[in-house]
């Protein structure tokens, strides 16, 4: 009994000391706690040096929290109990959040730097006139591949994935909209299709891809491609950029039939407490030099036209990261199809995965 009490006392003492240290650390964080904003973002999706710079310039302290999926983030904002002043959802999530009344309209008068954004990325269907969201990063969905492992084979069409030589070589991303969308695109349908017979046709088409499928996984695709473990992957341009950064052999292509164009935008959730601070933050991130530095750090494509002047010309001329307007016109942005339809996509996808075994 004695040693149990002793261990308990030690634990309590250690915890007390640690809590004290943390309180000290929190106070040394520059700006005082009074004026603060909470930013809710994907992990490693913002250069931490910029947060410090923002705190120094504005005196607003930034509390930075992270999430790993749009859906989990929405659940948290919907349930409340938290005060997020900024969140960075993808476009379909923004549509959903608008519908559920989870967003606060953005006051553009407070965003003089909005002029830096390429007009191409403004006023899109998921958020007309950008009432609720400001572009942060964007990209495409396509095929990342390693020609070294494939005798120089290249990919121009989705159909190329069905090539018999790719047996057990293709890795797909574990996401229903992306995979079913690829099936739809391969057949020439829209990736926002709500036509059941088209969807089933796409699922049947994908079933014939099975011999080639090595695995259906998530973000670990990056590691596998970099290692040379997988030769072909269905993935997003941002991740492809990460792969190419670490393995120069890897290439990325957006198939000619068309594919998905995606956006992550900054929004102000309903739970926000410091709306002025949130606007200040958005405006800060829209600054050309800041956006350039952030894009350098994260490695995704920035929608900030003025920022391109501050970036490595080699990167911005690279069609794989920054496809020109003509290439972009082949692409489609996801629409929010409603939960019912999303359920159908998921059922089809689950069925596909079950057959994989």
């Amino acid at each position: 009994m004695k040693d149990i009490i002793r261990v308990s006392v030690v634990i309590l003492a250690v915890s007390a000391i640690l809590i004290f240290i943390n309180a000290k650390l929190a106070n040394t964080g520059g700006a005082s706690g009074k004026n603060s904003i909470t930013v809710f973002n994907w992990g490693e999706y913002l250069d931490p040096a910029l947060l410090k710079q923002f705190e120094e310039e504005t005196g607003i302290k930034v509390i930075y929290e992270t999430f790993d999926s749009n859906e989990a983030m929405m659940t948290k904002i919907e349930q409340g109990g938290t005060t997020y002043d900024i969140a960075v959802p993808s476009e379909y999530a923004i549509e959903k959040m608008k519908e559920s009344d989870l967003l606060i309209p953005i006051d553009k008068a407070k965003l003089p730097n909005l002029k830096n954004i390429d007009p191409y990325f403004l006023d899109l269907a998921f958020d007309p006139e950008n009432k609720f969201s400001i572009p942060y990063f964007w990209g495409t969905l396509g095929i990342a591949y390693n020609p070294e492992l494939l005798d120089g084979q290249t990919f121009e069409s989705w159909e190329d994935l069905w090539d018999p030589s790719l047996e057990q070589e293709v890795v797909l991303v574990d996401s229903a909209r992306e995979v079913i969308g690829m099936g739809l695109n391969a057949l020439g349908y829209s990736l926002n299709s709500t036509n059941i017979s088209e969807l089933e046709e796409a699922a049947d088409k994908l079933r014939t891809l099975q011999p080639n499928i090595k695995a259906i996984i998530g973000d670990e695709i990056t590691q596998l491609m970099v290692n040379g473990e997988a030769a072909v992957a269905l993935t997003w341009s941002g991740q492809a950029a990460d792969m190419m950064w670490d393995n120069e052999d890897i290439d990325y292509a957006v198939p000619e039939e068309g594919s998905n164009l995606w956006f992550d935008n900054m929004v102000i959730p309903r739970t926000a407490k410091n709306i002025d601070g949130a606007h200040a933050f958005i405006n800060f991130m829209l600054d050309a030099e800041i956006a350039a530095q952030n894009a350098d750090y994260v490695g995704y494509s920035t929608p900030n036209l003025a920022a391109l002047d501050f970036m490595d010309p080699e990167v911005i001329q690279d069609e794989r990261y920054y496809p020109d307007e003509e290439a972009r016109n082949h692409l489609e942005v996801y629409k929010n199809l409603g939960l019912e339809m999303l359920g159908t996509y998921n059922e089809l996808f689950l069925g596909l995965k079950m057959d994989l075994q």
């Binding site: 859906e71 890795v171 090595k214 996984i217 998530g218 596998l224 040379g228 999303l342 359920g343 075994q357």
Partner: protein, 274 residues
């Protein structure tokens, strides 16, 4: 012992926990399971559950949970047994637990690297003349990593029950002419059954709802009920269907508990106050 009301005073926090964090969430989940996406009352989720897809998921989940538990036990029992015989057994036991304190996602990434085509294991196989093999995204790697995750949970209770074992009993058995195997199967094993049962519970039950490594290590070639729930909650946002699957998972657990408790009475050394 006489039944004074104060006797249950120490039980209050535990009882409060059951009410607040077990019964309340279960009530919530059961409630949700009767609603469809539009928020209407429905039995549709339950009807959906009895389709072939979910039947296959159940069979899958149970099969893999069984495999994982079986191999955990197979490797854990000798480990625990030998550990009790080492000199600094407490230290060694702690060293078994420490790896489980390093983040699981990181360790999984390490396994992806280790099992990779160009990873050290394949390099070794190559050297040994066996040649390169696809290890990742197979049933083998899935079960291996799951056993890796769960094995400390199996070793600990078995170690504790073995460690307490009265060596006199084993000496007595040997004096009576029992060989090593008989001593083990007639004396040691029955006396450690409680520990084994605990181990099985803490491995089998959570193994039913494994999800993360089904994707990372098995590449979705293994799909369990856990994967399906995860997806219903986080991707399809169909909390009704997700809850329905969870209700069944809990029912299955109750059934397992019912079966495993049946033999409890006969187990040696179960000292309950009569």
């Amino acid at each position: 012992m006489n039944a004074k009301p104060t006797r249950f005073l120490s039980f209050v926090p535990y009882a409060a926990w059951i009410v607040l964090f077990v019964i309340a969430p279960i009530a919530l989940i059961t409630y949700y399971s009767f609603f469809d996406l539009a928020g209407n009352f429905t039995l549709e989720n339950y009807r959906n559950f009895f389709t072939s897809i979910y039947f296959k998921l159940i069979v899958n989940s149970f099969w893999y949970a069984f495999l994982i538990t079986f191999f955990s036990l197979l490797f854990a029992y000798p480990t625990a047994y030998f550990l009790t015989k080492t000199k600094h057994k407490q230290l060694w036991l702690l060293l078994i637990i420490i790896p489980s304190w390093i983040n699981l996602l990181l360790k999984t990434y390490a396994f992806i690297g280790l099992f990779g085509l160009y990873g050290p294991i394949n390099a070794f196989l190559e050297m040994a003349g066996i040649g390169q093999h696809q290890l990742l995204f197979t049933d083998f790697s899935f079960v291996f990593v799951a056993v890796y995750i769960f094995i400390p949970f199996m070793i600990l209770p078995i170690f504790n029950s073995l460690d307490k074992l009265n060596p006199a009993l084993i000496d007595a058995a040997q004096d009576l002419g029992a060989n090593a195997w008989t001593t083990f199967s007639r004396v040691t094993l029955p006396l450690t059954m409680n520990g084994v049962k605990s181990g099985i519970q803490v491995v089998f039950i959570p193994a039913l709802s494994l999800f993360m490594i089904t994707r990372l290590i098995a590449g979705n070639k293994v799909i369990t009920l856990g994967t399906a729930i995860e997806q219903q909650f986080l991707v399809a946002q169909n909390w009704g269907m997700g809850s329905t699957i969870a209700v069944f998972l809990i029912l299955f657990m109750f059934i397992i508990m019912l079966f495993t408790s049946g033999s409890e009475k006969g187990a040696a050394g179960s000292g309950k106050i009569k």
